[in-house]
Amino acid sequence: MTSPDTATRPPLTTTIRLRLRQPARRRNIELGMLLLAIAINGVALGLVQIGALGRIGGTMLALGAGLGILVLAVHVALRVVAPDADPFVLPIATVLNGIGIAGITRIDIAKELVGWDASGVRQIAWSAIAIIIAFAVLLLIRNHRVLLRYRYVIGLAALILLLLPLVPGLGRPVNGAYVWISVGGLSFQPGEIGKILLAVFFAGYLVTARDSLSLVGRTILGIRFPRARDLGPILVVWMFAMVVLIGQRDLGTSLLYFGLFLVMLYVATGRPSWIILGMLLFVGGAFAASRLFTYVGNRFTAWLDAFNPEYADDQSYQLVQGIFGLANGGLLGTGLGRGRPDIVPLAESDFIMATLGEELGLIGLFAILCLYLLFVSRGFRIGFTGQDDFGRLLGVGVSFVVALQVFIVIGGVTRVIPLTGLTTPFLAAGGSSLVANWIIVALLLRLSDSVRSQPRWVVVPS
């Protein structure tokens, strides 16, 4: 039987033309946001100069533009070497770095520093170096699992770096904390690089050792506590943190390393008991140290009783002046270049947040905090969606270390915790900090590229 309308039916098969295309959506998003970030940075730098000097200085803007071109070059390279990398990481790092340069330049203007004496000029140079190093890391480490192989070497390197400031003649006290080393006039914070190596080591170690750390143990009050012999690692790291606290006289650095370890341990093993144990150990140790060592105790007093006339002109002078700066900024800020952030000692490095908070106001400070939060969340995304546990743990580790450092530094400036000698990631003046944080950018880009949350190739009808 044939149907009368057979002739009008379309043919069962037909020729369709298909094309394979590599999706570039992520990189295009990145490009758009990068251009926005560079524009924000340029405007911020220009406003600082107009606000504080009354005119625009061409040199700084030209140097800044050079940095912008460098970042755009990284973007172009990413299209080839890590096309699926997270599109937010690079623009956020860029805008934070740029706002930091604007803030540092603000202090330079107030202190009438120009040329190589100006921290802002050096910061731009360091930014260029840091971006180039980050780019090198991106090219060198094409597969992050390589790092797993060298975990013990990396761990040893981290240990050496972190303890370097304690070597007599090498360590240089800043603000009473021994977190800097000084070699031939060049200063460096070895802990900044050390924290990344530590994160790599922890990730590598925990991926291999987590089964024994999580599966066995005794249950008390519904929480499974580890066996005594498995306590080894946490005790070693705790002792190490205490050495840092007492030797380097810095609660922040100590808290950073120990906090990083605890969180990675918890994420790897899923045992809250580790957190409880660790917190008890740390708080107990810090308390004992504050009682045993006057300089640790003094830092606590200067924090708790900052406005006491006895300390406000002395131990807590910087903290109190920073808070006055923030208060002076208020909700809206004084406007870039129009505050008096230079009253605060180290306003371009440790207290860069007080500088920015004064001139950009609470609104600006919130915006910066949100940028950090977004940055950290992109790192956590790798933890949520990654395919290999080492990569996931490493992504969480390096982004948590940024979050914790932001908390410790800004918490110190706003009197949530005692003041420390750590630097604000991306913002503060200082080469070691910049290099370290840009390496974190490179690692996050590399890790996120490996997540492959979307197809490499798509079929498009032509």
Partner: protein
Amino acid sequence: MNKELRRVSVLVLLMFLALFTSSSIIQVFQQDELAANPFNARTLYDSFSAERGSILVDGIAIANSVPVDDEYSYQREYSNGPLYAAVTGYFTLDQGTTGIEGELNDFLSGTASEQFLDRVNAILTGQNPQGAAVQVTIDPAVQQAAWDALGDLKGSVVAIDPTTGAILAMVSTPSFDPNDLASHNSSVVIDNYTELLNDTDDPLINRAISGDLYHPGSTFKLIVAAAALESGEYTPDSELPNPRTITLPESSSVVSNSGGGACGGGDTVTIADALRLSCNVPFAELGQELGYEAIAAQAARFGFGDESISVPMSVTPSIFPQTESEAQLMLSSFGQANVRVTPLEMAMVSGAIATGGTQMLPTLVDKIVAPDLSIVQALEPQVYGTPLSSETAALMRDMMINNVASGAASNATITGVDVAGKTGTAQNGEGEPYTLWFTGFAPADNPQVAVAVVVEDGGGLGQSGFGNTVAAPIAKKVIEAVLNR
């Protein structure tokens, strides 16, 4: 691993929440408190480098900020420093501020909460912050007349408009030049400040409202007379015994009238005559009859002991001290013993009588004008209290007119105008020069000014100066300046 990650995410959120909270507390909630902290140098720098508002008298600046090329950007200048020093006060880098400069600093520097929108506007438009101008109630002609009349004498003149409380003149001599303390060179300021501070004549003290206060002498009889009339048991014609002297109870001290004789000719004397001739003996008797409570209550109604009066500089409370001793009470009744007053308080007493019993709150602030010429705050006359009834006020006024017309205050007479007044010649101890007083108001039927004049050190005449010879002529010139406006 994802469950743990979620928990760590929450931890990170909490950490950031702590930062959001702490920064909000500092930058918003504690902002004012932190700005007022004595360790906060920013507030000082800002109040110097803002274009500080002017202090105006009748629309003309007596203090203004001139741009200069140093770290503070603006220099404070006083166009007629010594004349207005009691009003403006001084404004220094690190030796504090006084007067209007100190009390209205928030407005002058533009940091008052009323000027919040102006500040936002200045930020948005990129302009320099600007303070508000303060127009004071001082009348330049009256101030000048008071200044000229006091001349080289040490003392003070306060003139107020009794119907509004507006202070028309406030002079304190010897004065100082606030320009000497406005320098941006700290050591110059400290040198000048130390010199002024060590000056035994205390030029930095505003004698009109503060300092060591004065014995009111016979001017206090106004308050005793008012207390008597208010009690309802006395009229101006009530008779009091009229001995030449009276010996104080439980004491060998003798009170006599200033002339040494009896008060008028009779065996008795009326309250009106005792006030007109300013006799001490009858008032000592009257005070004894009235008792401590009645006089203290009347003094308190006039504002004695009130610490809250500010113009806006706070006014040292005048004192009618608690006493159990009748001798002390009798001495207090003609303004001796431990009674102490400010010239402003005495002007307020005259003002209350002038208006028929309504006492206005004195003030120096006419209006505060924002940089955009909008009025931030304008003088609204405020009633301080009703220390005496209109009947008592009328009787008091008539007695005070007689004081000037045919009594002990004759040197305040102005042809064609009824001047009401009371003199005082207060003793300050054995051999010490007198404190000379005049307080009063004019015209009596339509009062435009209430005035108090005090001259220290007997006006240079030791114990031969009298209120009527030294203070009354000064008051006369001040009153004439008001009437000639």
